[in-house]
């Protein structure tokens, strides 16, 4: 029965490819659309300045010296401005562990590409918020 079983296999394959045509593609439209990352993904940081005590434990914990602290730049009574250098950061999470005042967290945002090396040093204006200019593509805005 070789012939008929092979024919049956052929129809199985055709059925599969036919169903495949109407399935959603696996690929994402990357810069505009991305998968959902798990909640505990160690992506870029967010600095909550209200909780910050300028203790500099995150700077001390960082193994690659990616964090710089500016204690003069105060917004509240005893906080500080943090500068994250994402050209150096290895996303090890030690700074978040070191923070005892719930002032530093990882976020699930992992696409940190910029046009310029200097833009990868996230100053206080960028590290304290998740807002950014949404990407536009053919009149549609993404994130």
């Amino acid at each position: 029965m070789g012939f008929f079983s092979v024919l049956g296999d052929c129809f199985q394959i055709l059925k599969h490819t036919f169903r495949q045509v109407f399935m959603r593609p696996f690929t994402y439209f990357f810069p505009f659309e991305d998968r959902i990352y798990p909640e505990r993904t160690r992506g870029r940081h967010i600095h909550v300045r209200q909780n910050c005590t300028a203790c500099a434990q995150c700077v001390r914990a960082c193994p690659v010296v990616a964090i710089r602290i500016d204690k003069e730049d105060k917004m509240y009574e005893k906080d500080a401005a943090l500068y994250f250098d994402y050209t150096r950061c290895i996303f090890c999470g030690l700074c978040v562990q070191a923070c005892r005042f719930d002032a530093l967290f990882h976020t699930p945002v992992v696409d940190l590409s910029e046009g310029d090396r200097e833009d990868l040093i996230f100053g206080p204006d960028k590290i304290e918020t998740l807002d950014r200019d949404p990407l536009e593509w053919r009149g549609r805005r993404f994130r």
Partner: protein
């Protein structure tokens, strides 16, 4: 002056006559030039009058615009986009997305890129043939579209009594050109690819033509138009389902796309007989491949799926195009489902399975016509 004739050659009168003589010469030449110009102008007027004679004009309209060249080339562009999108979907990708809406302009971007590329002709190539063959290939593949019966009444280009045979005569030249192109490229990979193309045709042509015997037999006609007209009562796909399948498979083998893409097997012999073609030459062969697939889809519609027969409230050409799109979809589906076969396997399958199956269906339908009188009444066979 006695005893002699005096030649009265008045030198000064002669001198005075020279301008007149020059004028005559110039007028004579001008007459010839004017005659030629008028002759050309008359030819232009004649051609113009011929073109704008109502019958001729509409024939030209059909040959050039609607079911003719421009329509076929637009359909070709659409077919390339459709194929790439479908391949993408089957492989869980998106296909082209960036140029134009849903990637619809991707082909134009590709074409501009390919045309702008340098055309490299290898040292060992036969230069003249190397330049000539890709264009000839595309022309030969586009020509049989004029025999496709897009509609019964008006929207078709030509209806010959032997158009089926003629279409196959054109299509047989395709692997010959592939073989020649592989030969004149002066590269071993292209030569191997050319022989593999010939091998594909050697394997696929007999089952394919035997499969078309069924429709021709039932319609009692070798004209594509006649075969399509014979299906007003019942489509031949209902009577000849196995022939439809064998024709589809043999057509795919003849075009040389997956799974029968041994001629251009890009992981074995770099790109088969198209290895050395670059730029515009590659573009032409690439288009020819898609045009051949489209041609076979249109043949399947005309031979098995009733041609323009379909929804009565739609024009025949629209019915034809709907069925054509569905057939082309299955063409792409089949050609993206299986792995590549070896050349000997291709011959083996085509001769050992396709050929007997095609013959079997023809024989079965012959017996059916003899023993089921109700069936014969549906067909324009005459007699009883």
């Amino acid at each position: 002056m006695i005893g002699g004739v005096m030649l009265q050659f008045d030198f000064f009168a002669w001198l005075a006559g020279i301008p007149q003589w020059l004028e005559d010469v110039i007028l004579w030449i001008w007459g010839i030039v004017k005659g030629i110009i008028w002759w050309i102008w008359d030819i232009i007027q004649w051609v113009w009058a011929q073109v704008f004679l109502p019958t001729n004009f509409m024939f030209l309209f059909r040959a050039v615009l609607f079911p003719g060249l421009v329509f076929v080339v637009l359909a070709l562009i659409w077919a390339v986009w459709f194929t790439r999108k479908l391949w993408g979907r089957i492989q869980d990708r998106r296909g082209p997305v960036h140029m134009g809406k849903y990637g619809g302009l991707q082909l134009f971007a590709d074409a501009i890129k390919l045309i702008a590329k340098e055309s490299i002709i290898p040292d060992n190539a036969k230069r003249w043939m190397f330049r000539f063959l890709p264009g000839l290939l595309l022309v030969i593949v586009l020509l049989p579209f004029c025999f496709i019966p897009w509609d019964f009444e008006y929207w078709y280009i030509a209806d010959l009594s032997v158009s089926l045979v003629l279409v196959f005569a054109f299509l047989t030249a395709v692997p010959v050109i592939a073989l020649l192109a592989g030969w004149v490229s002066g590269s071993k990979y292209s030569l191997i690819g050319g022989f593999r193309a010939a091998n594909n045709q050697f394997a696929a042509e007999i089952p394919m033509i035997i499969s078309t015997i069924g429709p021709a037999l039932l319609a009692g006609s070798l004209s594509l138009m006649g075969i399509a007209q014979a299906q007003t009562n019942i489509w031949f796909a209902a009577l000849l389902p196995i022939n439809l399948a064998t024709f589809l498979v043999a057509a795919i083998a003849s075009v040389g796309v997956f799974p029968f893409d041994a001629p251009v097997a890009d992981s074995e012999i770099i790109f088969g007989w198209r290895t050395e073609f670059t730029g515009i030459y590659f573009t032409l062969t690439y288009f020819a491949e898609f045009a051949e697939q489209m041609l076979y889809s249109a043949l399947i519609v005309a031979l098995f799926l009733g041609g323009p027969v379909g929804f009565p409230f739609l024009p025949g050409a629209v019915n034809f195009i709907i069925k054509f799109i569905i057939t082309f979809f299955f063409f792409v589906l089949v050609s993206s489902s299986f792995q590549r076969l070896r050349q000997d396997q291709i011959v083996h399958y085509c001769w050992k399975y396709l050929l007997p199956l095609a013959l079997l269906n023809v024989i079965v339908i012959m017996f059916a016509i003899v023993y089921l009188p109700g069936l014969a009444a549906l067909l324009p066979l005459g007699g009883g």
